[in-house]
Symmetry: C2
Subunit: 206 residues, 2 copies
């Protein structure tokens, strides 16, 4: 039993790492199994298809990321500073990835959206749920900021989507230039999108 789940974990880990490096279409089951060090037969014991594996990789990645986003966005800081922390942690995660594999690999969900959403409706649906959840979480923080008078937006849903879109767009640039410095602007752009000033606490720390 221990050995069995170990093989499944190895496949998931190999797939996650290969998908980050080279996307989904470029991969074959044989290569995933070779990287994982497991016989090809065991792949189909755990996953009925490459698509099923991709969904499992996406779910695992989102489980980790959602936990981080919840921790940061439901934190004790005032709302705008929680968003700033989200951007800082995103930059840190991209930097760590770059140190590990030599290149900025970007956001797995953004990568797979542009690569796959037109090709598999199951994966498109899962990615929609994830981005909706991200926008929900950011919207909740923006609503709190608006209630406190820290931000002024016409529509908190549109504003939340704009913040996530800006994040995806700047992560795209970070990947394009293999340079995480692109992400330093996220905080100021977010303030502009929310019609907000930097909180006094942030200005004092600068």
């Amino acid at each position: 039993m221990g050995r069995t789940s170990d093989a499944k974990d190895k496949i998931l880990e190999a797939a996650r790492s290969l998908i980050e490096l080279r996307g989904y279409s470029a991969l074959g089951v044989a290569e995933i199994c070779k990287t994982a060090g497991v016989p090809k037969g065991s792949f189909y014991y755990f996953f009925e298809s490459k698509e099923a594996l991709a969904l499992a990789v996406i779910d695992e990645q989102w489980a980790t990321q959602r936990e981080n986003w919840n921790r940061v966005l439901h934190g004790d800081e005032e709302p705008l500073l929680r968003l700033r922390q989200l951007f800082e942690e995103t930059a840190t995660a991209q930097r760590t990835g770059q140190e590990t594999c030599g290149t900025v690999s970007g956001c797995m969900f953004g990568n797979l959206t542009l690569e796959l959403s037109n090709q598999t409706e199951v994966i498109r649906g899962r990615l929609q749920e994830i981005f909706e959840a991200q926008v929900d979480m950011v919207q909740e923080v923006i609503e709190t900021a608006v209630e406190r008078g820290d931000a002024r937006v016409a529509d908190t849903r549109d504003a939340a989507r704009a913040v996530v879109a800006q994040l995806e767009g700047q992560v795209l640039f970070a990947k394009l230039y293999n340079n995480t410095a692109q992400l330093d602007v996220l905080w100021l752009n977010c303030l502009a999108l929310l019609g907000a000033q930097a909180p006094a606490k942030d200005v004092a720390a600068a």
Copy 2:
């Protein structure tokens, strides 16, 4: 001669359309030639590799798009309204694509950046040049807007990159949801990023 360049055009057109639908990695030379209706031998007469073909497709796409961007961004309208026109034409192009092939295919350069920039340095370099050129063009418009007192930004380069990042992020959402209505927010988000109000002319037209 006429027939020869016709075959090359057919390959380019088939590759462009297939890359828009399914990305680069999922394609093989045989499929491209089959779609183009040309013998596989003629592929290697025109292109030394699939990567060389991708570069040709990218260059052709950018030649068309750059012409459109130049026309709009060097137009007679006041600067902020030129940016609005750019967003409207982007939405129209995505809608036309959706009507033609059933799905919003997004921005070819954004798609290939997320799919390929970590895998081929030649394509990464070409995509960097294209995005730099886009940011240059938007920056020029923002500078004019700032000079006229229509916009207030700390750094026109960062602001231009934020506008292009927002565009890429919202096009990602349009592709994810197969819904071009996502793009209607670009104009208001752009105004927010530029610390700008809607020009009087735009308010009157609304």
